[in-house]
Structures are given as structure tokens and as C-alpha cells.
Symmetry: D2
Subunit: 130 residues, 4 copies
Amino acid sequence: MFSVNITPRFYETDAFGHINNTVIAGWFEAGRAPIFKIFTPAMDIQQLTLILARIEIDFVAQTHYGHEVTIKTGIERVGNSSFVIIQEAWQNDVLVAKGKAVQVYFDFKTQKSDRIPDLQRTQLEALIQA
Amino acid sequence: MFSVNITPRFYETDAFGHINNTVIAGWFEAGRAPIFKIFTPAMDIQQLTLILARIEIDFVAQTHYGHEVTIKTGIERVGNSSFVIIQEAWQNDVLVAKGKAVQVYFDFKTQKSDRIPDLQRTQLEALIQA
Amino acid sequence: MFSVNITPRFYETDAFGHINNTVIAGWFEAGRAPIFKIFTPAMDIQQLTLILARIEIDFVAQTHYGHEVTIKTGIERVGNSSFVIIQEAWQNDVLVAKGKAVQVYFDFKTQKSDRIPDLQRTQLEALIQA
Amino acid sequence: MFSVNITPRFYETDAFGHINNTVIAGWFEAGRAPIFKIFTPAMDIQQLTLILARIEIDFVAQTHYGHEVTIKTGIERVGNSSFVIIQEAWQNDVLVAKGKAVQVYFDFKTQKSDRIPDLQRTQLEALIQA
């Protein structure tokens, strides 16, 4: 499981006084960077052959400004041309949000989804929780 | 069904050249403003007695800069203390994203969910698609 | 002078209960879209031959959720290879922010600034306030 | 001088393939957090008695995804009720942006600016570069 630390920014709060929920969608994208790196080790993001098909987020507790957040990212399952990422956001030992993201391996030349190559498949499968 | 128009902003694009997916979460929140208005007609948002419990978004097609987007927002069902919003984003007559949001009616004094009052319930139910 | 209307979004507020100041930088970028259009009439933004060299923003009054904002955009002066944009944000007949942006005409092939062509120069100069 | 590290996020890029300029305004706000802490040591941000009066940013070089950015923040001068912050953004030993921010010490009860107390004044003055 990958772990990415986020320092909440003041502009990410909203008038309720907490972190705005839509911001979490961005933090979870940030948490997926180590997954992107599997597909483009040089982080040449414009060469990334993945598209995002779906996200789900459950907001479990309020997220506060002034305290670090840890985004944990793992893999739920790997299909033929797509895979499901599972993510959690933790703050002060409280689970504040959890989510899923479905990524599709995509050939931008043919504009079609394609089979995930074995090299990346192996690395993704190693991230499935026992 | 409510309809809100969005003009994509350049900073909402990403290095893939399209609107970044996480931005759609924000646009769908903007599309829910008429729902917020049911609960706080004066749009005194800090008096809003709703919390967001969950979002889901399916990214159906790429969203482009330079063309208007219409966010359509309706109600799928109304429960005792929560309700499910359904949303679609359309650009140039193409469905680019669809989503759901689960909102909970919340009493901030007791910090507990509460029964949706009849006044708001009636207005929400009127938004359920036939 | 160009005019662009903005509906403030809830996620653009912050814990102070107003629109976050950094959001105004984004709104002013949105207000510059008609200027971008002078340089790429088809709004093919990746063909835009402008780079942003500098911004200044004075925050004059608080900007609120729930009320439309109008961004007014004009030209202060046009130099050889750069020009200065002046902008104002108005809400409920109150000037809430004013700013400047310096854009440079840029040749991405040579990676150097270049003289603003006469076609665009004429259109920019027509936007200078009398 | 304070130093805050930022990991650029993919959604912060734009269609030009680099970090969008308006994002830097948000990063500089994040870089000012240690200044906020001088005024509210518990980071109880809603008790912060500062308002932002002005920002200026010079975009010196392109900022890229995939490489850490360091925001350096110091004080230029301290006036009676306001002070000027100077900031720089560095990536791979390249200065990519520099800026200023004018903050005003503000009494929210009287809705007027007020003299910066000696306790905070001393800490701010210690941050002025020799």
C-alpha cells in the first residue's frame, strides 16, 4: 500500500470551517501518483496510458485544517484492461474518507482500451491486500 | 430537474489537454446549489443543515475547454434522513459525466442526522424523475 | 471592456465564510478568456502564443457566496512584445477586487518573446480605456 | 525565512503541460501558514486576525509536474497595522516564481485595522532578511 502525506491548505477549507469535500477528490488523485509511476516511471505524465473511468468517495468524518492527512492507496483487483484502486484518508488516527477509483489502460493511438501489460500487471497485483 | 451552466476555465484543464476529472466533483457541487436553496432559501450557506455522505462519478467522455457544460441535477430517492441526488454533465450534446451524491439532513446542535422536514421533503420528491 | 459573469461556488469559500482570495486569481484568468480568443479565435488553447509574466491583485472587499460576480477586463497598454491587462471584480455594485496581468507574446518554437502581430495589436489597443 | 515543500498535483497542471499559474497563488498561501501560526499558535484559523490586502506574483520560469517545489517565505517590512511578505518558489534549483503579499492586522469586532501587537511584531521583524 502506498502512502502520501498531505498538508491541508487554507484555501481548501470552506465556509463550514472544514476541508471541502470536493478537495478530497483531488487529494485521492495525488495519492494515486505512485500508481501513475508504475506506468510512467519517469513521471512523464503526458505519456500516461491510463484514463480514469470512475470514482467513489465516502465522507466518513470531518477533515480539519492544521493537521496532516495521510492518503493510503492500494489495489482491490486487476481486470483485463482495467483495475480498481482503493484509497483511505486518515487524520489524527481517524478515517475521514475512503474511496475507489477505476482506471482503464488506454491506447491513445487507437483510442481504445487495451490489455494491461504483464510488467505493470505484476506490480499492481503485488499491491492487492492479503 | 435543475440545470446549471458552467463555462470551463483554463486552470481546470490538465496536462492531458482536457478538463481534469477532479474538477467535475466541484462542478457537480455547483450543480447542487438549487438543492441547497431548498434548505436555505436565502442561500445563507452556513445555516445549511446538510452534510455530504458520498459521491460517485462516472467519467463517460472527455470534457473540453472552450465549450459550455450543462449540469443537470435531479433526485433519485428520498429516505428518512437522507436523499440521493443524480447528476449529469453534458457538453455539445454529449454526456461527459454522470454522478450521484448522498446528502444527510443533519442537526449540528445534537451532531446527529435528523428526519427531513415535510416542507423540504415535498420539494425533493417533486424532483424525482417519472 | 469585456465582461464575464461568475457564479461563486461553495468550494470556493473558505473557513472565514467568504470566497478565498486565491480563487480570485482563477476568476481573473477566466475573465481573460476573451483576450485569449483574440489570439486563438477557435479557442484552441494549446495553440495560444501567450505566457503570463505577472499578476497583481488588490482585495478591496469581501466576496460572498450566493451572489453573482462580474469580472471586467480591459487593456492598460500594449508594448512591443507584451501588454498589460486591467481587471475588476464587482459583486452587488461593490468593487471587491482589482488586478493587473502582464501577458507576453511568445514563440514556443524559438522559446523567445516576439513582437505582437498587427492584427492582434489593433484589437488590444481598441480595448484601452479612453 | 520559512520553507514549505509542495508536491505538485496532477490536477494543478493545465493544457500547456505545466503547473497552471493561478495555482501558485494557492501555494504561496500555503507557504504563509507559518506566518499565520505567529498570530494563532494553535492554528485555530477562524481566530486569525489577518486579512489579505494584496498579492503580486512574477512567473519567472515554467513549473513542472513530477518535481518537488520549495516555497520560501520571509518578511520585507512591518508597518503599523500591516506587513509585507516576500515569497519565492524554487524547483530543481530554479526560481520559478516570486511574489509579495500584504497582510493587514484586523479587529473583526470593530471591522477596522489595528496596530500589530508587540509580541507578533517582534517575531515578524526577526524574519526580515539582513
